[in-house]
Symmetry: C2
Subunit: 200 residues, 2 copies
Amino acid sequence: MSDVTTPKRGRPGYDQAAILEIAVLAFNEYGYDATSMGVLASRLTLSKAAIYHHFSSKEELLQLALDHALGGLEGLLLEPGAATGAAIDRLAHVLRGAVHVLADRLPYVTLLLRVRGNTDVERQALTRRRAFDRAVATLVTAARDEGSLRADIDPAVVTRLLFGMVNSIAEWYRPTGPTDAAHLANDVLAVALNGLRTPA
Amino acid sequence: MSDVTTPKRGRPGYDQAAILEIAVLAFNEYGYDATSMGVLASRLTLSKAAIYHHFSSKEELLQLALDHALGGLEGLLLEPGAATGAAIDRLAHVLRGAVHVLADRLPYVTLLLRVRGNTDVERQALTRRRAFDRAVATLVTAARDEGSLRADIDPAVVTRLLFGMVNSIAEWYRPTGPTDAAHLANDVLAVALNGLRTPA
């Protein structure tokens, strides 16, 4: 979906990915509308021309950033663990993967979660995000229909609750904190699928 | 915690609670900082003096609104179902109650969830919210220690995940929609405590 890779730290100067990462942090801190290319240039101690060498517009920065978040999520659906096997296992694979995408691409996913649809780029991102949510809801329904999930739940509501839980991680997770993404994914699956109660 | 009651609809004129409700809707729509008393007055088609007859300041409106949200949550902890019995049942009581408080006081809780601590009133609200979260985390720990919850979970992380899930409801729940609060609370408990998986 996107050829943006995680920027390598500690390099002299800025490549495209490093500029994008700093732009995303600024968008999250000040808001996209309030972050002008001039603000970005001064934050990068680059000229605006140097930024325009890599990106045609501020909107292109936004688009690439949202692509990076959405591409990570959409890519999960194409993985073998999400495409074959029992629906319950495919659902678990996608939930676990979504926690890792969130942890690995935290500022990008944070930006995605704040998108409200004010521009074409944002509206396209919302459309892709809804398509991803629908794919997960389809997995929840399939897992219910195969008898793996309780029949008394509403798949649409449960999908919203599951992503409400996963997305809320963006509000407090810090990669340098005590909780690593793998443990976090385990706790999410414990809450979401197996339940917190001790098995009877 | 608060003597603000849900405003009665369809009454002629505005009492204190009705003005507060409309103010909270405006705070949520435009942001607290961007909503002046003049904006409120024109939205209410009242004079500013008529608002000041009920409220000393915009900050008092904010404080009463946050009190209404926090009072609902804090009140749960004082209910018999939260105070006595097995920790797992007390936790379930508080989670179910939190969904009802959110549904019944939706704009107030929405406002609370957006508070970032820019003023003394907001900081006091954040302090109370953290104390509530700590009380729930204590219940999660007690439920784990009594053997009701899995031992391999981190109570602090799980508490955050549970409230991430509950709070996310504010983003999509509408009282007029097809999902009523009681069913929603059931789905939350299904996800949170019993797990979605079919009992073995």
